[in-house]
């Protein structure tokens, strides 16, 4: 009884956070002389207005959901894996590298795609483990190790695109030479999404849900995250589990990066990680690290990103409004959590 009361109270506070963030965005819109209702409905239309748009939302949802899955694992282990952007990038780089390797061979393209994606996963894992090694054996806080590794990963990426892997003669921001279509992950009709990426994402979601909710592994990770010393005393090999958390997160990030290459861009591009890593971390905070919410909230964020495209076309507003909406939502919900704890704690 008491529990259900605090539950409904907490929903009330979350709702309050939502209202506040909507209010905040409305004020911002009024400030720039725009009609908020029109803006909101445009975003909705832009995300779900027709099948193509829904398909595009799904395309953005795939990496976002995957990355969020990974981030939840590191969050559970008490780690701030800010290096995830770099892990996505490395996933993409490894995938591209492998496809380039097989480009003019007779190896079955399907096989090449599979090997390339595995390589991408390995790339993500390696980069994550590097942050892990720095943390575990070097005492370098994962936030700063990860930030540094992000910069290095991006530099490596740009270096490859403009250097070793540049298109003949024209190094360009458009990325490396696109692969022949046989190396593309097949998409559905004229839509841009692929059943394969969706299937992989759904598998990832299910795996993470059960991993964190119902397995000994998940419980041990949680123990490491909540009290590392105690966890060690209770017999959990803590540094190994931290490394495992990095590994799993790197796996998801690498997979996301690989899919960006084989399913979306068909080449390596400069901003391949697309900020999905950071966005995934925000989603993680917003859903309070509960795996069950990953899919819908990632969909919501993806919809904001895609729907926001309509703002400049029709209202001549900058699309960064979507980012403002996402950020303020997470911020206000978090603040309301604090307010709730403060008020209820005082009773």
């Amino acid at each position: 009884m008491k529990q259900s009361r605090t539950r409904s109270l907490s929903i009330l506070f979350q709702f309050g956070g939502l209202i506040l963030s909507l209010g905040f965005v409305t004020v911002i819109l009024l400030l720039v002389d725009a009609n908020p209702i029109q803006a909101f409905s445009l975003i909705w239309q832009g995300a779900f207005g027709n099948p193509t748009r829904i398909a595009n939302v799904v395309v953005a949802w795939v990496p976002l959901a995957l990355v969020t899955c990974g981030v939840l694992v590191t969050f559970t282990a008490g780690l701030w894996n800010i290096g995830i952007e770099g892990q996505i990038t490395l996933g993409a780089i490894f995938t591209t590298g492998v496809i380039r390797l097989f480009l003019n061979t007779s190896v079955n393209p399907a096989l090449v795609i599979i090997i390339a994606m595995l390589a991408g996963v390995v790339g993500g894992i390696l980069w994550a483990l590097l942050a892990g090694v720095l943390k575990v054996f070097g005492g370098v806080n994962e936030i700063f190790g990860g930030l540094g590794l992000n910069f290095i990963a991006t530099a490596l990426n740009i270096g490859l695109i403009f250097g070793a892997w540049s298109r003949p003669g024209v190094a360009s921001m458009s990325g490396t030479e696109p692969f022949p279509e046989i190396y593309w992950l097949p998409t559905v009709g004229s839509f841009r999404f692929s059943w394969y990426s969706i299937a992989l994402t759904l598998i990832g979601l299910v795996v993470i849900y059960f991993l964190l909710q119902n397995t000994h592994f998940g419980l041990k990770l949680k123990a490491v995250g909540k009290g590392i010393k105690s966890a060690y005393r209770l017999g959990i090999p803590t540094w190994q589990y931290m490394m495992l958390a990095f590994l799993v997160c790197g796996l998801f990030a690498g997979l996301a990066g690989a899919l960006q290459v084989v399913a979306v861009y068909h080449r390596l591009i400069p901003a391949i990680s697309s900020g999905y890593g950071f966005m995934g971390m925000m989603i993680g905070m917003l859903i309070n690290y509960q795996a069950i919410w990953v899919a819908p909230v990632a969909l919501f964020f993806a919809a904001l990103n895609i729907g926001g495209i309509q703002l400049p076309i029709i209202m001549k507003l900058d699309s960064t409004l979507s980012g403002v909406m996402q950020g303020s939502l997470v911020l206000f919900i978090l603040l309301m959590q604090g307010v709730q704890q403060r008020i209820l704690g005082k009773k």
């Binding site: 832009g46 207005g49 027709n50 099948p51 193509t52 748009r53 595009n56 395309v59 953005a60 990496p63 976002l64 910069f151 991006t154 530099a155 740009i158 403009f162 003949p168 003669g169 024209v170 190094a171 360009s172 921001m173 458009s174 990325g175 696109p178 009709g189 004229s190 839509f191 841009r192 979306v264 861009y265 080449r267 591009i269 400069p270 901003a271 391949i272 697309s274 900020g275 999905y276 966005m279 993806a302 990103n305 895609i306 495209i309 309509q310 400049p312 076309i313 029709i314 900058d318 699309s319 960064t320």
Partner: protein
């Protein structure tokens, strides 16, 4: 309607439902022609993208019944998870019958889009895929390539710089290294060298033309050189005119600062006719793009059924370099131009108008490899695909 689509081989690709079902059609004024522009930067960047945006406004004004829609900041950093091809479809969903891709970076997407949407007219600005002589020829009936011959603008900029340099050191603030940026930097060098020798009667050995690449079209902390520092470094090492090849105006700003502190430094920005406004007191002029006339022509062709897939590399209008209706590239002298130099610059422009070709042999590449023999003139493809900087220029070629 274009004749082309019928022959399109890519027919099996199913049409996305969107453009057809879009309810924009029913209550509409007779035959409004909507064209969409995808711009790589912000539409109001006072640079490359704004030049396209204003060309769109120009078309709207000159050709009643047309309407522009646009999407700016089309790049993966600003629009994560999207591709220009997908964004092109968004424009189509809003009724666009033509989509203009404004950047070289959108090449692959422009092609993908053109293939998937044979009924939509596509203009790819700065591309070379419709050039039968080019190295990347991919014939597509619904696509047109347009590029301005900015080499002329850069030559004039180079001349302007040389005419104003007292130290004989000119700095070229380069973006990333590719064929386009190499040929533009080289053109500036050719212009500078010509004016230095012919008009000022100075020894070419005393002309110091340095290119420093920042590694990108604009500054990204941690990845590119800092263009402000590059400009400062130019100024510190006696450069008194900075020619900018990048999207942002650090050259101008640093010159303005140096001038404010008593130094004699000028700068020449790039891309947009209004670029001098950020620091008129040190601005010698700006080579600018005028996409309007070409857009107008091709949009008219599209509406009148005269569309033809072509590659165009359009030169300036020598009668009036800054006429919005006629020229494709221009050069607008800045407020800081010295009156005497202005006269010489005028005669240089006249010479160019009269057929002066600076891409003339003997010319060697930077490493000394002969490129043009004496008396030889470079072909368009030779210029377009220039493999190195030219001999006499300082800076990296790769």
């Amino acid at each position: 309607k274009p004749k082309a689509p019928a022959e399109e081989p890519a027919a099996p690709v199913e049409e996305p439902a969107a453009p057809v079902e879009e309810p924009a059609a029913p209550v509409e004024e007779p035959e409004e022609f909507v064209f969409g522009i995808l711009m790589v930067g912000p539409y109001n960047d006072r640079g490359y993208s704004q030049a396209h945006y204003e060309a769109g406004l120009y078309v709207e004004e000159k050709l009643p019944g047309t309407r522009m829609i646009y999407l700016d900041s089309v790049n993966t950093a600003d629009r994560p998870g999207t591709t220009p091809a997908q964004l092109g479809e968004e424009l189509v969903a809003q009724g666009a019958k033509m989509v203009i891709f404004n950047s070289d970076d959108m090449k692959d997407d422009a092609i993908e889009f053109a293939k998937n949407h044979p009924e939509i007219f596509v203009i790819h600005a700065s591309g070379d895929t419709q050039w039968p002589d080019g190295e990347n020829y991919i014939p597509l009936d619904n696509m047109v390539n347009i590029m301005g011959r900015m080499e002329y603008g850069k030559m004039i900029a180079g001349c302007d710089a040389a005419l104003h340099s007292e130290t004989g050191s000119i700095g070229y603030l380069g973006p990333l290294i590719n064929e386009e940026t190499r040929r533009l930097a080289s053109a500036a060098y050719l212009g500078a060298k010509y004016c230095w020798e012919e008009y000022l009667q100075l020894d070419p050995a005393d002309l110091n033309f340095r290119v420093t690449w920042i590694g990108f079209w604009f500054n990204i902390p941690g990845f590119t050189e800092d263009p402000s520092l590059v400009a400062q470094e130019f100024i510190n090492s006696d450069v008194d005119v900075i020619i900018s090849g990048i999207d942002t105006t650090e050259g101008l700003i640093e010159a303005r600062k140096a001038a404010g502190e008593g130094a004699r430094v000028f700068s020449i920005p790039y891309d947009y006719i209004g670029a001098c406004d950020e620091a008129p007191e040190v601005c010698l002029g700006v080579p600018w793009f005028n996409w309007g006339p070409a857009y107008l022509r091709h949009i008219t062709n599209a509406t009148t059924g005269n569309w033809k897939a072509v590659f165009e590399w359009n030169g300036p209008s020598w009668e009036d370099l800054n006429n919005f209706d006629t020229t494709n590239v221009g050069y607008l002298p800045g407020p800081a131009v010295d009156p005497n130099a202005a006269i010489l610059l005028e005669s240089f422009i006249d010479e160019l108008a009269g057929g002066l070709n600076l891409w003339a042999g003997p010319l060697n590449l930077q490493d000394g490899t002969p490129w043009l023999a004496a008396g030889e003139f470079a072909t368009d493809t030779q210029v377009w695909y220039l493999p190195q900087l030219l001999e006499g220029m300082e800076g990296r070629s790769e």
